[in-house]
């Protein structure tokens, strides 16, 4: 059992634990925090796989920007403990059961099926950030440009929906 493996399992446990706590936390703010835990753990895993850039972005954009946004909104709406209603019959036991079934199935299939990808991964000769930039700005320039519009739309949406006063 090598060190990396131990680290992996620790991080994995952290991620899963965070996810679980996201589920079981009553207060959204706690959920948010547990989500951040997950993200950090994932960042760790990225590092473990040698994808530094992604890991960085994960921390900065996700853990930083997005989650902050979440927390901010939670505060803004000062959301309290979520009330525990059960209007949906379906979303009760059967729903959870089905979800478990799906998860189990997907996980099982993947576990059996990842033979197509190489069994082990070796760090080191992982793509450098240069290659990344090449990729983004040459091969994927089109979607990249599109994402700019996407963000534009997001901004627009935020303005349209969240602004308070309706124009004359």
């Amino acid at each position: 059992m090598t060190a990396t493996l131990i680290i992996f399992f620790v991080l994995a446990a952290l991620a899963v634990g965070g996810a679980l706590s996201l589920i079981f936390q009553k207060h959204p703010i706690h959920s948010a925090l547990s989500l951040i835990v997950v993200m950090v753990a994932l960042a760790g895993l990225y590092l473990l796989m040698g994808a530094e850039f992604v890991a960085a972005v994960q921390i900065i954009v996700y853990g930083g920007a997005i989650m902050v946004l979440f927390v901010f909104v939670i505060m803004l709406l000062n959301a309290g403990i979520e009330e525990h209603t059960n209007f949906s019959k379906l979303a009760g036991f059967p729903g959870l059961l089905l979800a478990f079934a799906l998860t189990g199935f997907i996980a099982a299939t993947i576990a059996r099926a990842t033979d197509t990808v190489q069994a082990a991964s070796q760090p080191g000769n992982i793509a450098s950030t240069r290659d990344l930039s090449n990729m983004i700005f040459r091969d994927f320039v089109y979607p990249f440009e599109l994402t700019s519009f996407l963000i534009l739309v997001a901004v627009l949406g935020a303005i349209v929906l969240a602004q308070r006063e309706t124009r004359p």
Binding site: F87, S88, L90, A91, P94, G95, A101, F105, T109
Partner: protein
């Protein structure tokens, strides 16, 4: 030969009369209507006479004389033409129909003078003449069927002439429907004949049928079946058991109608058809036997009912049924000419009787119940005399017409070898007994009406003799019913019977039984049988005299002592009640409650609406799934995910009927 070339003139004239009167007569005065109607029939009577004259100029191979005018129905190898045919049989019918018909038209002008819907009456009457003439002139079964149905229609209209009276309307309907039942058989008969011979033209068909060998007795061959089916039609039209029920009710119509349609002409159409199809019948002894038996039974049966009826027209009606039975008996025993002969004489005297009865009713101001008459003999002498003549004729008192015709029927019945001699003897006996009954109830009628004391109150009823227009036809008919039979008279002094001779080319063609065999044996039996017949008739007369003139009280006491029998006869053996209980009501009940209410509404429509309902319910269920709750929706998505994954990964959950190659 103007007329024979243009036979269509004969039926067309009455049709014209009918059309003119029917469409325009509404506003016309009676005179014009009379002249149109009588003119039309009279002319066609003259035309018929002319036809007879020309007919005698024809050479024998030109007979039967067939004219094809235009083809009426054509399909595949089937053709029904508007073809008219004349042979001896036709001529007889032609003369009877036009002649008697004409007389009755004349009579009606007097009788109906004060009725509403005068033009309607004559239009119908002419229409009837038209169809009747089509019937007798037709050269194929289909055209004959036209006349057949047509006269049915005319009788429907005329019976229902007083359509305000429910009874009249009912009677008309009944007549038509019962006839339809007969027609059902008649049509099937035609179909079978066409299937067998590939044609329905008389000449061709009979030519093909003649060489065939007769079918053994009791064996249901094609011909037998066909004959029986035809006879079913005949029985309907000619009011034989079991379809006779409509005729008595038909008396709801005006009396001249009863005389013309329900005594003289239409009801004899059945006999005519059987006589016309004799070739087929000769090949089907079984059918013959059935005809004979049914005819005989009807004769007897109707006579018994006639004994106790008190309505003057009802009595005559049952006697008509009974006499028709005679005619069928004759045909059944192969004595077609005798049958037709009786048909003719019967036409004379029965028309006479009806018209006389009409005159009586006219005199009594519409009274029909004999129990409310009596002692009229002096008040309406002419009517009395003529009616008496008719009675004597029908009772079979020589030398009146009825005697000869009935006599030859009985003779032939006695001689008939058809199915063993004793059958013939039984038929003879029954016929004889019927003769007895006949003379009894006929004289009962005479005595009740004309003898004894008046059983009506003078103040209301002013008995008066009918006008000339009514009496002259009576007189003529009286004469006819005296001399009408003499055609057959020579048979008695060894010579042959002219009437039979005249018809021989028609009937003797397929070597009919009567010509050869009868002649010889006949002379031996002729006289004794005749004497017996006369005696029976007299017996009936005396019985009636004793019961209704000597001591009238006796009749009632008799009725009382035989209450059961009397009631049964009075209610005509409860046949109508029986029919309505067994056929009519069940049918209506079935149609209403089973077919309509259950099958149609409940089952079929129920199923249709049920499906709709079901789908709606399911639809409501589907809507409920749309709970509006996002979490449930998420679960639905998951469900979908699982469905897809399952279908893709596990082949055995795939729908079975997926692909139908």
């Amino acid at each position: 030969m103007p007329i024979l070339e243009h036979l269509w003139i004969i039926p067309l004239l009455p049709l014209l009369g009918a059309t003119v009167n029917g469409l325009l007569g509404r506003t016309w005065p009676n005179k014009i209507i009379n002249s149109v109607a009588i003119g039309a029939t009279g002319l066609s009577f003259l035309a018929a006479l002319e036809a007879v004259r020309e007919f005698f100029l024809l050479s024998s191979e030109q007979i039967p004389w067939v004219k094809q005018y235009f083809s009426w129905i054509e399909a595949g190898n089937f053709r029904a033409g508007f073809d008219l045919q004349v042979d001896q049989l036709t001529l007889v019918m032609l003369l009877v129909v036009t002649g008697v018909g004409w007389l009755i038209h004349i009579y009606s002008t007097g009788y109906m003078a004060h009725e509403g819907g005068y033009y309607r009456f004559f239009a119908y009457l002419n229409l009837f003449m038209f169809f009747m003439l089509i019937l007798v002139l037709a050269a194929n079964y289909v055209l004959l069927f036209v006349g057949w149905e047509g006269v049915g229609l005319a009788s429907y209209l005329l019976i229902g002439f007083y359509f305000l009276r429910k009874s009249a309307a009912d009677a008309g309907k009944k007549a038509f429907i019962v006839n339809r039942i007969g027609d059902f058989g008649f049509m099937l008969g035609m179909f079978l004949l066409f299937r067998t011979f590939g044609t329905l033209d008389f000449v061709k068909l009979f030519d093909k049928a003649t060489p065939l060998s007769a079918e053994a007795l009791g064996h249901l061959g094609t011909l037998t079946v066909a004959c029986l089916l035809l006879f079913m039609g005949a029985a309907g039209k000619s009011a034989q058991i079991p379809l006779y029920v409509w005729l008595p009710d038909a008396m709801e119509g005006p009396t001249p109608v009863s005389a013309l349609i329900h005594a003289a002409t239409m009801v004899t159409a059945g006999v005519y058809v059987v006589a016309r199809s004799h070739v087929l019948f000769m090949h089907a002894p079984t059918a013959m036997l059935v005809v004979a038996v049914v005819g005989c039974a009807t004769a007897l049966f109707a006579a018994t009912i006639g004994l106790v009826q008190t309505d003057i027209k009802k009595v005559l009606a049952y006697s008509t049924v009974s006499q028709l039975g005679y005619m069928f008996l004759a045909c059944g025993v192969g004595a077609f000419s005798a049958g037709v002969f009786h048909l003719m004489t019967h036409a004379f005297f029965k028309a006479l009787l009806f018209l006389a009865a009409g005159s009586v009713i006219h005199a009594m101001g519409g009274e029909q119940d004999m129990l409310r008459m009596g002692g009229l003999s002096k008040k309406i002498k002419w009517t009395y005399v003529t009616m008496l003549t008719g009675t004597l004729a029908i009772a079979g008192i020589p030398p009146l017409a009825g005697f000869f015709s009935k006599d030859s029927i009985l003779l032939n019945a006695y001689l008939s070898e058809n199915s063993g001699p004793n059958v013939g003897h039984i038929l003879y006996a029954a016929g004889l007994f019927t003769a007895l009954l006949t003379s009894f109830y006929m004289f009962r009628l005479i005595f009740l009406i004309f003898f004894g004391k008046e059983r009506y109150d003078e103040h209301h009823v002013h008995v008066h003799e009918s006008p000339k227009s009514m009496l002259i036809p009576l007189a003529i008919l009286a004469v006819l019913s005296i001399v009408g039979g003499w055609l057959a008279a020579p048979a008695f002094w060894g010579k042959s019977d002219y009437f039979a001779k005249f018809l021989e080319p028609v009937f003797a063609a397929p070597g009919g039984s009567e010509a050869g065999t009868a002649e010889a044996v006949a002379h031996a039996l002729e006289t004794p049988l005749a004497i017996i017949a006369v005696l029976t008739a007299l017996a009936g007369l005396l019985a009636a005299y004793w019961l209704y003139v000597k001591q009238p009280s006796k009749s009632d006491s008799l009725a009382k002592s035989f209450r059961g029998v009397y009631q049964t006869l009075l209610h005509k053996y409860y046949v109508d009640e029986f029919y309505s209980a067994v056929v009519v009501r069940p049918l209506l009940w079935l149609s209403t409650n089973v077919f309509w209410k259950t099958v149609d509404v409940s089952i079929i429509d129920g199923a249709v609406n049920g499906i709709a309902e079901g789908i709606t319910v399911v639809g409501d269920g589907t809507r409920r799934a749309q709970s509006g709750n996002t979490r449930s929706y998420a679960v639905w998505v998951v469900v979908g995910a699982i469905v897809i994954v399952a279908v893709i990964f596990w082949p055995h959950v795939r729908p079975v009927l997926g692909v139908a190659r």
